[in-house]
């Protein structure tokens, strides 16, 4: 399509000149000699650029940045609020400058922006409010503030958080709608896992972290097989498939479902080989019979003792808490052959949603207990022997909890 969805139609007049950052050097261009082209652009772009800068400035000034909420690989996240109305809270995700890239802007930040913008407007997708750049060309994404942690925290906090089938159904409904929305907009998420499912103040689950997302590919276009965190990665990707579909996300959704029920990762492989072995053992060995063509995939290797595909009975034992209909849905998300795996739309049409118990209304869903986060941090540290950086979660807590580690 001609327009990129971000610099969208109404802004055509404001489109920046293509070779904006001077550091980007050789943007491929037409035949004009460099200097002539530069002049031309300068002449055309001058008023526009001032306007752009002004607008960026305005956008930036709308928000006041507060304390740091957390740190990821690619960004620091801060609490912020609107200058006009301090009760409107936002999360400001400041993308770290990365030296590897010419302009210091990480392509995955752009990816995240692009898809969040494209998918805007669904209750279960984190809202991108705004984007602005701060000094030294740092990109800031202004996101909906989601104060209640993520699904992983709830799953892991077995001591304090109790939940049941109705709650699982509510969470799964929100997750499935999110992924249905992505797929309905021809977007693959490619990193679904419990800690990318954040929780809003009203209990709504929101899909976040679109750093690996992409549009559905055309036939013949190779996609990378190295996506999705290992425990949630479907067999076709483990076998190196380069032409895949939304079915990859559905597998991840199925594993989140399983994890919600047993409150532990269902297939926690320590390596890709082990991951495949786990899938074979628990779900069944992929063969030409149950998955036509699978042996042709580049990295197809399975343990020699072939395990037949597990029937519903086997799942009932472990996952029976969500009832027979729930288990039926679960098994359909974990079908080995991606073409026979259930789609997001079909998931939403499944009878489980209408069966008893009704999903818990979002306001009544269990929430992380006060201090759950601190406890989790402490547990993690105990496990990892790591001392958190001073400003991560409030230095006092971190240090106090860390008596065991030598200074």
């Amino acid at each position: 399509m001609a327009n990129s969805p971000l610099v969208a139609r109404p802004t055509d007049a404001l489109q920046p000149p293509k070779s904006l950052p001077p550091s980007s050097g050789g943007t491929p261009s037409g035949g004009l000699p460099r200097s002539a082209r530069g002049q031309q652009i300068a002449a055309l772009a001058r008023p526009t650029m001032d306007l752009m800068e002004q607008m960026n400035e305005d956008e930036k000034n709308k928000y006041i940045k507060g304390k740091k909420l957390g740190e990821g690989t690619y960004a620091n996240v801060y609490l912020g609020h609107s200058r006009l109305d301090s009760s409107t809270q936002v999360a400001i995700k400041k993308i770290k400058v990365q030296k590897e890239y010419q302009d210091g802007i990480a392509p995955d930040a752009i990816r995240e922006m692009k898809y969040l913008q494209k998918l805007r407007g669904h209750a279960n997708i984190i809202i991108l409010h705004s984007v602005f750049s701060s000094k030294d060309q740092n990109l800031n994404l202004v996101l909906e503030y989601l104060p209640l942690g993520d699904l992983e925290m709830l799953i892991r906090d077995v001591d304090h958080v109790r939940y049941g089938a109705a709650d699982i159904k509510a969470w799964m409904g929100m997750l499935t709608r999110a992924i249905w929305w992505c797929h309905d907009n021809y977007v693959l998420h490619r990193d679904i896992k419990p800690n990318n499912l954040l929780i809003a103040a009203d209990g709504e689950v929101k899909l976040a972290d679109f750093g690996l997302a992409r549009s559905f590919a055309d036939p013949g276009v190779r996609m990378t097989a190295n996506v999705i965190t290992r425990w949630y990665r479907p067999p076709e990707l483990l076998f190196g498939a380069r032409h895949y579909s939304g079915a990859v996300d559905i597998w991840s959704v199925g594993l989140v479902f399983a994890e919600l029920i047993i409150r532990a990762p269902y297939l926690p492989g320590n390596s890709e080989v082990e991951q495949i072995a786990l899938i074979c053992r628990e779900i069944g060995t992929p063969t030409e019979e149950n998955w036509p063509g699978v042996t042709q995939l580049k990295e197809y290797t399975v343990p020699s003792d072939v395990v037949p595909v597990a029937g519903k009975d086997k799942y009932m034992g472990r996952f029976g808490a969500v009832g027979s209909d729930g288990v039926d849905l679960l098994t359909k998300t974990l079908v080995l052959d991606p073409r026979r795996r259930i789609t997001a739309r079909e998931m939403l049409e499944h009878r489980w949603w209408k069966a008893d118990p009704k999903p818990t209304p979002k306001h009544d869903l269990p929430k992380k207990t006060a201090g759950a986060e601190e406890k989790l941090a402490a547990d993690l540290k105990r496990r990892n022997g790591m001392v958190e950086d001073d400003d991560v979660r409030g230095s006092k807590v971190a240090r106090k909890l860390d008596f065991g580690t030598a200074r």
Binding site: L51, K118, P219, V227, A241, Y244, P292, W353, R399
Partner: protein, 362 residues
């Protein structure tokens, strides 16, 4: 050991030796020695202890201190600082883990014992503190081997999880990098095929020129479907969404009214969350053909990888509508949740940092 510290003296931030105050001398740095947790300014510590061990200058304190032992406080409150030091020391000695005990009850009793002892060390009278200290040392002597073993096991476990964590981080990084390469390769491929198309056009080859014709056809058909769909499905007009649709490409939800805010859903649970208008959107009337589909439909890698040709066909139609720019006017008037001005300013923010080319990811 004298009763430790004088928190007020510290908060007052006056050096008890030279009487300098933070208020008058903002650069002043306070240090203390964990022998007695009495604080003084860095200058005084240097002056008094540089020539060797000396007595603590605090009135009534007769601890002998060495320069080496001084440090600055991590916590504002030296009482906290001291408690943390004590707890750290206790934890290093009482490092038994649950597996070392027969029952959970035994383990809990052990934890209780350690906590009681810690409490005495922190808050006890001189007498009880001495007792607790003696107990601690006795335990340490008695269990030296266990303590060493647990320390080693702890270090190993730490090392294992550290390595695992690092590997996990590397993997995340690698995934990101490959996604980027994927986008770049695709961009190159697109440029290449565009050039090829142009070449072929110039040469008058027919193989490729067939494609634009197909596209046009898709567009027409799609357009008809779409109009039919709006007419036949009045539900669409009222089932708007909370905050509005995504942009340009999402024709089907354009121009819809905002959903009146949540008259709490009393009816039966709707798995689609009130947004299921899509099934009627594009009816694929079989027989839809596209050169790319024909070329790859039987390709093993597409088949086994789970590639969906139905999705491709649907998307081709959808993009065809978007290309026609249907209903753009409607959208301008009603607007989706993200108002025009908001959208423009967002674009400005991006443009200020990002080369427009870069948005063209895949």
């Amino acid at each position: 050991m004298a009763r430790p510290l004088d928190p007020l003296g510290f908060e007052d931030e006056m050096c008890p030796v030279c009487k300098s105050r933070k208020y008058l001398n903002p650069d002043i740095v306070f240090v203390f020695n964990p022998e007695c947790y009495h604080s003084m300014c860095l200058n005084c510590a240097n002056r008094l202890f540089n020539d060797g061990p000396n007595q603590c200058p605090h009135a009534g304190c007769n601890k002998t201190l060495r320069r080496k032992g001084f440090r600055s406080a991590f916590f504002g409150d030296l009482a906290v600082e001291r408690e943390v030091d004590i707890r750290r020391r206790v934890a290093a000695v009482f490092n038994q883990v649950e597996d070392d005990f027969e029952t959970l009850q035994d383990y809990n009793n052990y934890l209780q014992m350690v906590e009681d002892l810690t409490f005495e060390l922190v808050n006890g009278t001189d007498e009880r503190r001495r007792q607790a200290e003696a107990q601690l040392q006795a335990w340490e002597a008695e269990h030296r081997a266990d303590i060493e073993r647990n320390k080693k096991a702890g270090r190993e476990a730490d090392e294992i999880s550290r390595v695992r964590l690092a590997a996990e981080r590397d993997a995340v990084r690698q995934r990101r990098i490959e996604a980027i390469k994927e986008a770049e390769a695709e961009k190159r491929e697109r440029v290449r095929s565009r050039e090829m198309e142009l070449d072929n056009l110039a040469k008058g080859t027919t193989a490729m020129t067939a494609e634009p014709a197909t596209k046009v056809q898709l567009k027409r058909r799609g357009q008809v479907n779409r109009v039919a769909e709006t007419a036949s499905n009045p539900a669409i007009a009222t089932t708007g969404m909370g905050t509005g649709a995504s942009e340009v490409e999402r024709l089907s939800i354009r121009g819809l009214k905002e959903k009146p805010k949540a008259p709490a859903p009393q009816g039966p649970y709707d798995p689609f969350g009130g947004m299921d208008f899509a099934p009627s959107r594009y009816k694929l009337h079989g027989g839809l053909s596209h050169p790319l589909m024909e070329k790859y439909r039987l390709d093993r890698q597409h088949v086994a990888g789970g590639y969906s040709f139905d999705d491709f066909a649907a998307r081709a139609l959808y993009e065809a509508f978007a290309g026609l720019g249907v209903f753009v006017e409607d959208e301008k008037e009603v607007g989706s949740g993200i108002g025009l001005s908001q959208e423009t300013s967002m674009a400005a923010g991006i443009a200020a940092v990002v080369d427009a080319d870069k948005m063209d990811l895949d």
